[in-house]
């Protein structure tokens, strides 16, 4: 097992190099550079085009260099914890990420918890009572959650909050609490709002989990060992929970890996609508104004999260399912 983990970690090194290249390629795909979009937006607003300032920025950040030089300038700083600069804010990328990563992780892990707490029991129920009214009901609502575009659901919830409860649900806290130290009041404010993104993003992923759980349960319930257990007189509850569900949950564990990157990209649209201080909206802004090092770093982090996630779920799978051995 230890061997396996070490081997997998070693394989990740060339993968990460490859990842940095791909992330960089994605952000350099759109034509032009930050300076072009910056100048264009200045002109649109009727501001003066400061040619000198533009040239200065270009020279400082090496925006006229060939792509591979720019790439090298970016990666070179990694061992020292430098991910480049945010052009639009003129500060290190790492600061922006450090500021937003905690909220991103908080919201995402709560979302994950929310989906699992509901999806697993519903999946089990739907399988045990296949084609019952309850099965249809859960199936319907589960799929309804996937079918509503995230931004629509977020807008509707915000509208309801405003119209019927008089609460402005955008952001994670009212502006005056920003930058304040954490106290009970601030936590309450956050608690009042944080459920919105959890529901919006959570419902979108719920049906998938329910379906996997239901399908696996159906498969397991047909197996001979279930019959055997029943014929021995094991109680039905125990047959379902300790026998079938125990095995049926394995495929769900192997999906954890794919959920981690959802951290950033999955909640992105909801984050934009709700104005959350998470990485998703920042990535969107960065891509739009071609703030390339910021965008590239966020994309890179989210791809690395997938790799880490897959490794984690493989290890978890081996712990939960004793039949799986890695040698």
């Amino acid at each position: 097992m230890v061997n396996y983990i070490i081997r997998r970690t070693l394989i990740m090194i060339p993968m990460i190099v490859f990842i940095t290249i791909v992330s960089f390629l994605i952000i350099t795909l759109p034509p032009g550079s930050y300076i072009d979009t910056y100048l264009a937006s200045l002109q649109r607003m009727g501001g003066q085009v400061e040619q000198e300032r533009a040239e200065a920025i270009k020279a400082r950040y090496g925006l006229d260099d060939p792509v591979y030089v720019q790439y090298w300038n970016w990666v070179r700083g990694f061992p020292y914890g430098r991910l480049g600069m945010v052009f639009s804010e003129d500060r290190p990328v790492i600061d922006v990420i450090a500021e937003r990563l905690p909220y991103t992780v908080l919201i995402s892990s709560l979302t994950l918890l929310f989906t699992w707490i509901f999806a697993i029991p519903i999946g089990i129920y739907s399988a045990v009572k296949q084609y019952s009214a309850g099965d249809y009901l859960f199936t319907f609502f589960g799929f309804l959650g996937v079918s509503i575009p995230n931004f629509l659901l977020a807008l509707v919830i915000m509208f309801m909050g405003l119209r019927y409860f008089g609460v402005n649900l955008s952001g994670l806290m009212p502006a005056r609490y920003m930058g304040e130290p954490w106290n009970l009041e601030k936590i309450m404010q956050v608690a009042q709002r944080i459920w919105v993104p959890i529901i919006v993003v959570g419902t979108a992923g719920m049906a998938g989990l329910i379906r996997v759980m239901r399908g696996e349960m159906l498969d397991q319930l047909r197996q001979p060992y279930i019959q055997m257990a029943r014929s021995k007189g094991v109680s039905e509850i125990k047959v379902i929970i300790k026998y079938a569900a125990r095995i049926a949950i394995n495929p769900l564990i192997s999906t954890i890996g794919w959920l981690l990157p959802q951290l950033i990209s999955g909640g992105m649209i909801a984050g934009i609508v709700l104005g959350l201080p998470t990485l998703g909206p920042k990535l969107y802004d960065a891509l739009m104004i071609q703030d390339m090092y910021l965008a590239g770093s966020i994309i890179m982090i989210s791809i690395i999260l997938v790799l880490v996630g897959t490794l984690l779920s493989d290890i978890l799978l081996a712990i939960v399912d004793p039949r799986i051995r890695y040698d």
Binding site: L29, T139, F140, S147, L152, S265, L307
Partner: protein, 385 residues
């Protein structure tokens, strides 16, 4: 003597008939059903899936006959009717039932804010005419030109879903939008299936190094976050591209992330079928690899492919709305549900013009229907348990 022979013949004949009879009864008792028949039997149990099929049929038919079903051209502007709320077709008035009509709408400019204010004029009743021939003509799929519409109004206008800020009929736009929105998934899926079958098939059948390389590629593609990739590619599309070019580019972008799931499913299936006796028999009989893959392995994966295909389409429809939301999807004058929902992106729109969200309901219903059908297929995909 001759009679005996005759008798003998008769007896033989009778015996033969008996055998035929028994054969028939045997066949009746063990009716052999094909894989697809078995699937259909199982599929029928899933009521939501059957409902989904009906809904999809209606939606695709209305997309095909959009010109006939809608009273106006989707991009026609009625400058004096901006942001009008949906008009109700009424069939009752103070005298009881009567033929369908709508109330008239009159607009006035607010002298202080200069905004148009519309009031419903309950005294003016405009009858709705069916199979109406108005001044609007449209080409029916480039075949012939006609002015026949399902319904229309002689004098004035009818806006079932209201109008948008430029005075365009939301109903006509929604029905026309189905064309792009509902086909994006189909075209995208064709690309995904072709790529998925190709890579998944090779990967599963060859195994070894080939499998390893393709699997790493698949894992890596899965690891790239979807939306940033779409954004990067979407932002790279030149502004001067025509609607059709952008449409196909977006389909390709959406299927770039779609083929990997297909490839994984195909590979998994092929791995399990590959070792079965009939495949070994085919190989022993000297069938070529190509023949084994195309004639034996792929047909056996078909039902699983169908399931994944149905479940991938709604993802693409939602993808189109997501891209449009980010301003990177189809662009006007193209009319799609995503484009229509671009107007409905802030709380103000929900509060003041809730009818902007009607295309959203269509998205939800279409995606829901596809999901139900896919779910029914998934339950039915393995009818042998």
């Amino acid at each position: 003597m001759s009679e005996e022979i005759n008798d003998g013949n008769k007896m033989k004949k009778k015996a033969a008939e008996d055998i035929e009879d028994t054969e028939i009864t045997v066949q009746e008792q063990f009716q052999a059903r094909s894989h697809w028949q078995l699937m259909w039997l199982e599929f029928k149990n899933h009521r939501l899936a059957l409902g989904g099929i009906v809904v999809l049929l209606v939606m695709y038919l209305s997309a095909i006959f959009a010109g006939f079903l809608t009273p106006y051209n989707p991009n026609e502007r009625f400058a004096q009717y901006q942001n009008i709320a949906p008009q109700m077709i009424r069939v009752t008035d103070e005298d009881g039932f009567r033929s369908p009509y709508v109330y008239g709408v009159t607009g006035e400019r607010d002298p202080r804010t200069l905004a148009m204010v519309y009031t419903i004029d309950e005294d003016v009743k405009k009858p709705v005419e069916f199979f109406y021939r108005g001044e609007d003509t449209y080409e029916f799929w480039g075949l012939f030109e006609t002015d026949l519409k399902l319904f229309g109004i002689e004098d004035g206008h009818i806006f079932l879903f209201g109008t948008d800020g430029l005075g365009r009929d939301v109903f006509s736009r929604t029905i026309h939008g189905a064309r792009l929105s509902l086909t994006i998934g189909l075209v995208g899926i064709v690309i995904s299936v072709v790529l998925g079958l190709f890579f998944g098939g090779i990967s599963g059948y060859m195994g070894g190094v080939t499998d390893n390389i393709i699997q790493r590629l698949v894992e890596f593609t899965l690891a790239i976050p979807k939306i940033p990739l779409w954004m990067g590619l979407g932002a790279a599309l030149p502004d001067e591209w025509s609607v059709i070019q952008v449409y196909f580019a977006i389909v390709v972008i959406l299927s770039l992330t779609g083929w990997v799931t297909m490839a994984r499913v195909v590979r998994g299936q092929i791995l399990s079928i590959r070792e079965q006796d009939f495949v070994k028999a085919a190989r022993a009989a000297g069938a070529s690899s190509r023949r084994i893959i195309t004639r034996h392995l792929l047909p056996n994966c078909m039902s699983y492919i169908l399931v994944n295909l149905t479940l991938a389409i709604p993802g693409m429809i939602l993808g189109e709305t997501a891209l449009s939301f980010l301003g990177l999807g189809l662009r006007p004058p193209a009319v799609s549900w995503g484009v229509l929902l671009q107007q409905a992106q802030n709380v103000r729109a929900v509060a003041e013009y809730p009818w902007y969200f009607i295309p959203g309901i269509f998205v939800i219903v279409a995606v829901l229907a596809f999901n139900f059908v896919g779910d029914g297929l998934r339950d039915a995909a393995d009818p042998y348990h």
